[in-house]
Symmetry: C2
Subunit: 335 residues, 2 copies
């Protein structure tokens, strides 16, 4: 495990890199400014610069560096991932009627649905153009496949919203669409840009899949166990929406007839889902559903470490340490 | 001018090519099918296959052929333009709350806002990937610039909806965003794909700009003078929305103080805009605003012909004849 000093230097690196990425994003937007409408630019400024940790661009930069290339364009390529990520958030907030994002009004709430759709479309196109420019057709295809896969995942979620018999496999499909695909694409495209060989590209893509899955499992755990004072949002949202995540799926698989029926009854009744949150938590706890879900996240992080073994000659490099640090950070996060 | 026989053979070619493009689109979607959600595929099928004339793909194919390349991939590249066009329609219908499209329910009305946003995003990404694949980075940049330009145009429209002092220049900016950019991009990218030299690429792009502008001017004229039995929609929509198009702009520029004030008064009052449609038409007629707007469209078509002069060695080729035929067709269309 990391020491406190280690952890602090890791966090300092992440913050420093995030600031650097922000500078490249601002430079890019400033370059666009003379050509585009003032309101569009205002929406972009509001929606893009919100103190995000810029994890996806950071992954691009680190993957590229690990494969041997460190330059300014790797940051510009990274910015494309933040653009696409923001575009999906603009549209997701409409889809989920989410009024807030990171403690302020969502783009859709502040500027209206029209501006949110259009600004998302703008960032979409801008990101694709940048990915094509910096990583060529190979990178563009990975990027577009991640995008269409994310849309497909949203359609699956629409369909699954009415289903309360999801398997673990369904869950992994869902979190890949929600988080894994774009994170894996950031790692893979960074590796392609960095000139990595097939083995390196594959390893970094797999690292991304494991990192993304670990991240989402912990995110879903925080929806049950998080401290609202730290996460900034109430617990129990998933269950209130009837959404099945890993702790619940594992519990239903393990539960006896009575407990399973009770859980299914709660899931099928909207009022009960809010009223019986504590009872659901108690049942999940009893069957070790939270512990088991956490173990899965730990296993993902272990796998993320393992696939990076191919970079053993870079053992003490900053880039490898930060990639490992990110995986550990996912497990320790409280918000 | 074209003879009746000429015109009929032109229309037969357009229909034949549209069917061919539809076959390539169906083939592409079928290839995607195993990987994607059933509802997503249903939305795509509904939204894409609606008897459209496939003018944008046709322009890609013709421009490529004029520059020397005729092959199956030019149709696949063309399909990308129909995908992007459909994506913008899916999103536009949400933005404009349009419940119908080509005489049936719009995607947004039939499948809901979530499906319409997501399916648009899907086609967006799919189209960019195809354009990158077939026309390389040069084509992708033109395509993405057209897309961001279209979004910018929509923001401009949002802003202009409150402005009733638009100039002719504002109008041309607006119709470029709405129609011209994508049509010009289809011609330019077709030329790039076809291996055209810089002069050919420029000529075809300019042809597209003129064609697109002529198309939109006639479209806006039909909103005043069209036969609802043929166009399938009532007249007077633009004025009811307070939208200034060319006939009105030209009239306001030419009108005396009294008439100008009267027109501005109507524009500024929502009830009057519907009630006074006939009166507005009469004022525009009196100042020759309709005739003048039509002359501008004819000038655009003349310019479209002129820029094609660089292809004089292809004088009697089918591709040149159809490009010219399309420009003439725009002037004669009644729906």
């Amino acid at each position: 495990m990391q020491s406190v000093a280690h952890r602090e230097s890791f966090l300092a690196t992440v913050i420093e890199e995030a600031e650097k990425i922000d500078r490249y994003m601002r430079e890019d937007i400033a370059q666009l400014s003379p050509d585009f409408d003032g309101l569009l630019l205002e929406v972009l400024d509001y929606g893009l610069f919100n103190g995000g940790k810029r994890i996806r661009p950071l992954l691009v930069v680190l993957a590229s560096r690990l494969c041997g290339k460190t330059d300014a364009d790797s940051y510009r390529l990274g910015a494309a991932f933040e653009y696409l990520h923001a575009a999906t958030l603009f549209h997701d907030d409409i889809i989920d009627s989410s009024e807030t994002r990171r403690g302020k009004q969502s783009v859709f709430k502040k500027f209206g649905i029209i501006a949110a759709i259009l600004a998302g479309d703008f960032l979409h196109a801008q990101s694709m153009s940048m990915v094509g420019k910096y990583s060529g057709q190979a990178g563009l295809e990975v990027f577009c496949r991640a995008t269409t896969g994310m849309v497909d995942g949203e359609f699956m979620q629409l369909r699954n919203a009415q289903r309360h018999n999801l398997s673990e496999l369904d869950y992994y499909d869902a979190i890949m669409g929600k988080t894994g695909l774009l994170i894996a694409a950031a790692c893979e495209i960074g590796a392609i840009y960095g000139g990595g060989n097939a083995q390196s590209v594959k390893a970094l893509r797999e690292y991304g899949v494991h990192l993304g899955c670990a991240f989402q499992i912990i995110d879903d755990l925080l929806d049950y166990l998080g401290d609202p004072g730290k996460t900034g949002k109430a617990v129990g949202n998933d269950i209130a929406e009837g959404k099945m995540t890993l702790p619940l799926i594992l519990t239903i698989n393990a539960a006896d007839h009575t407990d399973r029926n009770r859980l299914m009854h709660v899931l099928d009744n909207q009022d009960e889902r809010v009223r019986c949150f504590d009872e659901v938590c108690a049942i999940i706890s009893r069957y070790g559903g939270f512990d088991e879900a956490r173990k899965r996240a730990e296993q993902e992080v272990e796998n993320a470490f393992m696939v990076l073994d191919v970079f053993s000659e870079k053992k003490n490099s900053l880039e490898l340490n930060v990639l490992q640090g990110l995986a550990l950070y996912v497990l320790s996060r409280e918000k």
